[in-house]
Structures are given as C-alpha cells and as structure tokens.
C-alpha cells in the first residue's frame, strides 16, 4: 500500500512536472512583451484554475490513501479503562474535523476553479452578509461546545488521583537516561525521598529515617496487576522527562523538584494484548521488515548485528527532550494477573533488607 502511495504521488509529480514544462514553453515568448507578460492573463487563470481543481482531487485521493495505507499505524484499542472513552472522543473529533476538511477544501478549490478570471467577467460586489456570518460563527460554537464538554468531563475523571479506590501506588523515577520503579510495599505508602539522600545503593534517595520507606521495593521492571487502579507518582533526578505509555493513553511529565501523578487502570494483560488480531498482524509485519533488513545486511556484507525477532511488550518511553540518548530512554512494562504480580513482588528485596545487607558487609 505504501508502495502504491509512493507511485501515485510520483505519478502526480510527473504529471505536474510535465504540465509545468509546458507552461514554461508557452510562457517564454510572452515574457518578451514586458511587464504585462508577468501578470496573469486569461490563459494563466484558466490553467491554474484547473490545476487547483486537480490539486484538490489529488489531495482527496492522498488523504483517503493515507487513511487506508496507514490504518495499521493507529494505536490498537486502549489497554486501560479510560482509554475506551479516549478513543471514542478521538474518533468523533476526527470524523468532525475530516468532514469540515473535506467540505472547506472542496469549496476553496472549487471556487478558485469556477471563478477563475476571464476577460469581461464581472465579480460580484458582495461585502457583507450578517446571516451567513452568524451561521458560520454559531455552527463552530455549537460543535466546539459539545466537544469541549465531553473532553472536560473525561479530563476531570482522568485527572482524579484520589486513593479512595485503593490503587496500587507506584513511583516511576526518571534519570538521564533510564527509568526505575519503586513500589510502596505492604503499608501502601511511599517513603519520603529527596536527591540529597542519594548514596551508594540508595539510588532513588529514599529517606532512611522514614519508616514508611523501609518496606519500599525498588526495581528496574515495571509490572502492574490487571484491573486494579494504579496511581503513578513521577519523580526526576536531573532534567525534565515525560513518561509516555501510548497503549494506555497515559502521559505525564516528570519534573525535578516535584512529584507529578497520573492514575489509570490497565485492563489487558500483556499476554492478552499480544495475541489480539491487530498486534499479531503488526508484529508479523515488523518481523518481516526485520528479516528483510537482515537479509540485505548479509547480502551487502555489512558487519552490523542481525536484528532479533520482535515480540510486543508494553513500553514506557521518554517523551520530553532530555539529552543525547533521549531517543532510547525506554522501559518495558508488563501487565499480569494479580496473583502473578504478587508472586513476583514477593521475590524482591525491600529497601530495609537491602540497606541491612550493605551494613553487614561493611
């Protein structure tokens, strides 16, 4: 499909180039006639009026082709509870704006074609019409009001970070260039932390004197139980980062000097999400691309490492410019059943045991 699109566009460009070369040829003798030759005449108006019409048709084809060719680019159904509402709002908004796009571009270019200048054609002196202007002020007002209200209701729900529904509290900690995770442990409270406590293995700067922090668990892996609300608390040790979890429709900046929050409920385990039809197809396509690349590397005798086959995992990526390796600041995410999650969590050492182990070896 992409190949088709490229060919289509190349063909359009070729046609344009051919037409343009004609203009240049046609234009040449005229240009000797002085300044008048550099002002559009009826022939130019006719030609470029038609071009504008062709242009809008080509633009429609391009837009439709993009929607078809790139349908796999759209993110699959959201893996979080609020994500379904998000996707509906996005779809509705997209339908609205594409409708407006099709109508207005059609009018703009069609009028440009229809009323292209001709000698003797009289333009209509039409300077004002209150009713028309009222209509096209009122219609956007109504449509936008609807979208705003819907968006604001979703927004209020989304931004709710209360702990009434007993969320799992997880700290996501960002640094140049990676992520760490801290679970709040049995007491469900994250211990105080500040960069000034960073020392040795206390890489997240947990306050060793704060009792709440003793049962905290620090790890490199972000695992979440399915269908339980998760309250993320974000902290950064150096510069701005942004924790972007596209499949959960979640994003929040990570700001040094303050704690930012985002709460959502994952609804699909990694295993389920991987086996959806969309994801199987997408991964198959990606692996085919990777296989071809490897083959080409072998053919050209390149000494690059062969690419491993890809298996989908949720990821969290940095989405705020943060330095040289910004482009590769990622962390794998796993969503699993509550049991699996608890089993995994129980195998990890708490902050207290880690510190104690250090103290004894000293």
């Amino acid at each position: 499909m992409t190949a088709f699109l490229i060919i289509l566009i190349a063909a359009l460009i070729a046609i344009t180039a051919w037409q343009l070369s004609k203009i240049v040829k046609l234009g040449k003798p005229v240009s000797f006639e002085g300044a008048e030759g550099q002002i559009a005449n009826d022939e130019d108006n006719d030609r470029h009026g038609k071009f504008l019409l062709y242009f809008v048709i080509a633009m429609y084809i391009m837009m439709i082709a993009c929607f078809i060719a790139y349908k796999d680019f759209f993110l699959p159904d959201a893996a979080s509870k609020h994500g379904a509402d998000y996707d509906n709002l996005l779809l509705t908004t997209t339908v609205v704006i594409m409708t407006v796009q099709f109508l207005t571009q059609a009018l703009l270019h069609y009028f440009s074609y229809k009323y292209r200048g001709k000698k003797g054609q009289k333009a209509l002196f039409f300077a004002d019409n209150d009713r028309l202007e009222f209509i096209w002020t009122a219609v956007p007002v109504v449509v936008l009001a609807g979208l705003i209200l819907w968006g604001l209701f979703s927004w209020n729900e989304l931004m709710d970070t209360s702990t009434e529904d007993d969320p799992l509290i997880v700290e996501v900690y960002a640094y140049q260039f990676g992520w760490k995770v801290r679970y709040s442990g049995a007491d469900k409270i994250l211990g105080d932390a500040n960069v000034r406590y960073i020392e040795g293995i206390n890489e997240l700067g947990i306050d060793p004197t704060d009792k709440d922090g003793l049962d905290d668990i620090v790890t490199q892996e972000l695992r979440l139980p399915v269908n339980r609300p998760v309250l993320f608390k974000f902290r950064s040790q150096d510069v701005l980062h942004s924790a972007y979890m596209p499949h959960f429709r979640a994003q929040m900046n990570v700001v040094p000097g303050m704690v930012t929050q985002f709460k959502f409920t994952p609804t699909e385990t990694s295993a389920d999400y991987k086996s959806t039809e969309f994801m199987t197809r997408k991964v198959r396509k990606i692996n085919e691309i990777r296989r071809q690349k490897n083959e080409e590397a072998v053919r050209t005798g390149s000494d690059e490492q062969p690419l491993d086959p890809y298996e989908f995992e949720y990821y969290l990526l940095c989405n705020k410019i943060c330095g040289a390796s910004h482009y590769n600041m990622q962390m794998k995410m796993v969503v699993e059943t509550e049991e699996d999650f608890n089993t995994w969590l129980s195998t990890l050492e708490t902050f207290e045991t880690k510190m104690a182990a250090i103290a004894t070896t000293d």
């Binding site: 344009t16 343009l20 203009i23 300044a35 130019d44 108006n45 242009f55 633009m59 391009m62 790139y70 680019f73 997209t94 704006i97 207005t104 009018l107 703009l108 270019h109 440009s112 009323y115 200048g117 001709k118 054609q121 009289k122 333009a123 209509l124 002196f125 039409f126 300077a127 004002d128 019409n129 096209w136 002020t137 007002v141 979208l147 705003i148 968006g151 927004w155 209020n156 000034r196 150096d238 510069v239 701005l240 972007y244 596209p246 994003q251 900046n253 700001v255 040094p256 000097g257 303050m258 990777r290 990821y315 989405n319 410019i321 943060c322 330095g323 040289a324 910004h326 482009y327 590769n328």
Partner: protein
C-alpha cells in the same frame, strides 16, 4: 548584508537630499530600505533553517548511517559521516529558533510591517526612522550571534527551541547547554529588544500618522494585522525576556528560579525551591502568542492579495477585524495548552482547553470569509494569489488538528508526538511561509520596481504545495502511531519499524520541496536586476502604496500625501445601473473621491 548592498546598488538612486552609500544602503532610516534589509536577512536565515531541516530529515530516513553530506557540513559532529545525537538535537533547536523568530517573526512581520505601514496609511516614514534602523541592526546582530553559536566548541544550544530548564541550564546535562546556550540567550535578548523597538514604532505609526481620511475602519486588513501583531509582541515578548534573564541568573549566578533537587554526574546541586513549570508558563506566555505573531501578518497579507486578485471586496471586513482582535486577545490566555501534561494543576487544564477551543471560532470565521471572498469573483491567479489560496488551505488543514491537540484529554496521547509536529508546521510554518511568499510576489514590483517572473513563480508554488502536503499530511499518521518528536533515531523501538518507509518518503518530499525553493531564489535575485520594469500599479490595486509612482524616494510621495476617501476594497463596485463606478475600470483606489451618484459602502 553584503547581499542587500550588492542588489540595491544597481538601482538608480533618486536623490532628493544628499545620501551617501552608507546612509542609503546600510544605516538607512528609510522604512522601505529597512524592509528590504529585513527581507534579505530573513531569507538568508530561512535558507539556513530549511537546510537544517533537510539534514534532520536525512538522518531520520537513514538513522545513524554515514552520509557524505553530514561529513562535509558537520565536520567533527559527524565522525565518519554518522551524525552525533547531540548535533541532531542542536539542529532541532536552531532550526526551530531560526524559523520561528528570525524568519517568520523578523523576516515576515519586520519586512512587511516596515514596508507597508507607512505606504498603506499614507505616511512619509515610520514615527521614528532612527529607532527603526536600530531595530534592524539589533536584529542583524542577534542573527550573527545565533549563527556564530553554531561554531562553539561544545556545540550550539540543543535543548529544543523551548529551552526548558534544567536541561538548558546545566552544561552537565548536555554540551549544548554551555557556551552555546549562553549565546542563544544573548542572541534572543537582543532579538527581543529589536522586536520591541519595531513593534512600538508600528503601533505609534498606525495610531498617529494616518493620512487625512484614513480612519481606522478604512485601514487595509494588512495594516490591522500588523498593528495588532505589534501589540501582541509588546505584551508578550517582555515576558520571554524576563524568563531568559532568570534563566541566565540560574545558569550563571546560582539562583534557583527554575531549578530544584537536582542530582547530576554524581553530585547534588545546591539549587532548591525553583520550578521548571514556572519557566514553561513564562515561555509559553510568549510562545503561544508568538504563533499568532507569525500568523496574523501572513493572514493580513493574504487578505490584501485575495481581495485584489479576486477583484472583489474582502468578505466581512468588520468580522475580519473583529477576528483579528479576538485572536489577539485569546492568544494571550491559551498558553497552558502546551502544558496539559506538565504537572500543572488539572483545573488549569480545563480552563485552557476552554479558551483554546474558543480561539478556533474567530479562526473559522476568517477561513469562511476567505472562501466567500473567492465566490463569484474574477480570480486573477497570479503566483501571489495561488500562495494565498494555498495559505487558506494549509491554515484549515493544520488548524483543524488543533481541535485534537487543544483538547486536554486528547492531548495526553498525542502530546510531543509527530502529530504535533505536523500540526504546527502546517498551521504556522507552511501557512506563514506562504504568506511571506505571497507578500514577496505581490509587492516585489513596489519594492524593486521590477516584475518577478510569473512562470518561475508558478513552478515554485506548485512544487511547494505538493511537497508541503507530501511532507506533513502523512506525518500526522506517524504521530498517531505514538512516535515522539525530537528522537535522533526511531530504530531503538522495533515497534516503530514499520514507520521507516513513511519516514523515508517524507524525507524525499522534504528534500524535493527544499530544492524547489531554488526557483524562488533564482527568480528573486534575477528579477532584482533583470526583471521587466514594473508599471505603477501592476495588480490594479486600491491601496495607497500604488499611488507613489515608480520613484523610490525617502518620503514616499513626491508631492503631497494623498487624501483618502473610501475603504480599500472597492473592487468591482457598480452603480445602480450595473456599471462600474469608474467606467471601464473594475477598481476604485482609496484616494479617488466619491463619484457622482455613488453611495459609500457602509461596511
């Protein structure tokens, strides 16, 4: 500036009072010369900015692969021809800075405000020619410093054009935040001074120096746009200046306006209590109005060009003025939509969503009014007209996706992805560039007394129009896939592997479009010297600048300043008997008194 000197020295001077080469071409106080200086400096900066975007696109098409072009142009920043990630970020940063400030603010607004305000309101020059000259030379100095910063040891500023601290404040975080960032801040501080001097001059000139009969409701829409743009600039640029000053203090004098609790390179910094979010507020308090500082002049120019070439009055003059004012007002209270996920209070997000979607309304009114202006016109499809129609097209396409981004909920998942890049490039980048081109094609005869080649203009337009959509329409879909912007390479995530072909295609379009600009460059330079001599009023336009004759004198009109008797849009106006007001002529310039039996438009 050597360029401008070379080009203009070929014109025959019309010396009314003694002028030396220096006072005429370098330290000129004539607004027309200053406009040309702005234009040519802006175009040179534009060429640099566009070249940078081509380098970025080449990197994105073939990530981390050696390229002779990189080796040749980037030197030590591309060892063995492979671009260094810091260099990529530096290109992102300087491309953004140059295009937004040096090309689309100074190059567009500086050129056309300077050129058109005195000519179209009937004034002999700006209120203060001297300040105007100082404004240009400050701009020139800031351009030189910005370009100079490309050559410092640790690289130019690379924290993005938004220069969010702490990244921009800490040389430990990235090399570009050392001397490069200092030069960036110095350059921008000078730029802001230049911009303020210019803006104050424009506002004072429009208020005080209108000729007899030129009431505010008879001003061409271009002047309204420049006037309001200048006011937005006066309101918002000082805030950026404050932010830059505070950032300089954080960087150099150990204050903590924006920094707090930072551990970097194994060391805790002393900074305590500052907030990067504060910087974001200050930055976007300018940053968002800046979008309209860039766009409104382009819309003003296209209003003039569309009305003239449609041979029709602009539809809904009063609504257009009201829209400009509404956009100007709203533009100063929407900045928070850049910060929905910045960690600011979510309630603020609600407010900013509301104000942001409000601004869509005057924008929609403007678009509809342009379309209606075309309806039943007699369209003269000159290159300037094509660029204006193209502007309306990209303004709509790019503006509509703003409804997604301006909605705090929807922004969560597209924030800082390529969706945003596609959106703002279409709505402010391409649209404003089209406005710039429309202005150059339209007023070139007035600026240089010569005509540009229309056929080269047509080629330039069509290649640019196809290329711009070819680059930016598919880019929305790449963004929808969740691909973040400002990534040096997209291959670190296998999930994005299937975007590679599209990224390549976008790059081909970008390179082709960039090269298409050479048609413009050639046409521009050649026409200055060899273009056909322009008639006094080639586009049969109503506004006052076409009444000066072909003399280029400081003072604009050889004789008395013309008096204005009507609004500027009496195109194809007919009497009750259906005949043109002036028989055989479909336009009535502003300085022509009301004819016998003619009724004045009560717009």
């Amino acid at each position: 500036m050597g360029h401008a000197i070379a080009t203009d020295s070929h014109e025959e001077g019309h010396h009314h009072h003694k002028e030396t080469f220096v006072t005429k071409y370098i330290f000129s106080t004539d607004h027309k010369m200053i406009a040309k200086q702005y234009l040519i400096t802006g175009l040179i900066m534009g060429a640099i900015g566009i070249a940078m975007s081509v380098l970025m696109r080449m990197q994105l098409a073939n990530p981390a692969e050696p390229n002779v072009v990189f080796q040749a142009l980037l030197g030590k920043w591309a060892p063995d021809g492979v671009m260094n990630p810091n260099m990529y970020l530096a290109l992102v940063t300087i491309h953004g800075t140059i295009m937004v400030f040096f090309v689309l603010t100074a190059g567009l607004s500086g050129t056309f405000s300077n050129f058109l305000i005195p000519l179209q309101i009937g004034a002999r020059d700006m209120a203060s020619g001297f300040l105007n000259m100082v404004s240009y030379w400050l701009f020139f100095v800031s351009s030189v410093i910005m370009i100079g910063s490309l050559f410092v040891e640790l690289g130019p500023a690379a924290a993005g054009w938004t220069i969010y601290p702490p990244l921009s404040a800490l040389p430990q975080a990235m090399g570009g935040s050392g001397t490069g960032m200092t030069l960036w801040l110095v350059s921008m501080a000078i730029f802001i001074a230049s911009s303020l001097l210019g803006s104050l001059n424009y506002v004072v000139t429009v208020i005080n120096l209108r000729t007899k009969g030129m009431s505010m409701t008879r001003l061409p829409l271009s002047i309204w746009a420049f006037f309001v743009t200048a006011m937005i600039g006066i309101v918002s640029f000082p805030v950026l200046f404050a932010a830059a000053l505070m950032l300089i203090m954080d960087r150099s004098f150990g204050t903590s306006f924006f920094l707090s609790d930072i551990y970097i390179e194994g060391e805790v910094l002393a900074h305590q209590g500052g907030s990067p979010v504060l910087f974001e507020h200050l930055f976007w308090f300018l940053g968002h109005p800046e979008v309209y500082i860039v766009l409104l002049p382009a819309l003003g120019i296209s209003s003039e060009v569309i009305a003239t070439n449609a041979r029709k009055p602009i539809f809904g003059y009063r609504a257009m003025v009201a829209s400009i004012l509404a956009i100007a007002f709203l533009s100063t209270i929407v900045w928070g939509h850049h910060m929905f996920v910045s960690g600011m209070n979510p309630f603020l997000g609600s407010v900013f969503t509301f104000t942001t979607l409000l601004i869509a309304i005057p924008s929609a009114v403007k678009a509809f009014n342009y379309i209606t202006t075309l309806w039943k016109g007699n369209l003269q499809l000159n290159p300037a007209m094509l660029f204006s129609i193209g502007l309306v097209s990209t303004f709509i396409t790019g503006g509509l996706t703003g409804i997604i981004l301006g909605d705090s909920t929807l922004d969560i998942n597209v924030h800082d992805t390529y969706f945003v890049v596609a959106h703002f490039h279409l709505v402010m980048g391409i649209s404003a560039l089209y406005g710039l081109f429309a202005g150059v094609y339209h007023w070139f005869p007035k600026m240089f007394n010569r005509m540009m080649d229309k056929n080269l203009g047509y080629i330039h337009f069509w290649l640019t129009a196809i290329g711009a959509y070819g680059v930016f329409f598919p880019m929305h879909f790449v963004g929808m896939a969740g691909l973040p912007r400002r990534y040096y390479s997209n291959t670190a995530f296998p999930y994005f592997d299937d975007l590679a072909d599209t990224n390549k295609m976008i790059t081909y379009f970008a390179i082709a479009t960039a090269f298409a600009q050479l048609f413009f460059v050639y046409n521009f330079v050649k026409s200055i010297f060899y273009g056909k001599k322009a008639p006094a009023n080639p586009w049969k336009s109503n506004t006052l600048e076409w009444t000066t004759g072909d003399k280029h004198i400081h003072g604009n009109w050889d004789g008395p300043i013309p008096e204005v008797h009507r609004w500027p849009y009496d195109y194809s106006k007919v009497n009750e008997d259906g005949e043109y007001v002036i028989s055989g002529q479909d336009y009535v310039p502003q300085h022509i008194p009301l004819q016998v039996g003619e009724e004045e438009m009560n717009h």
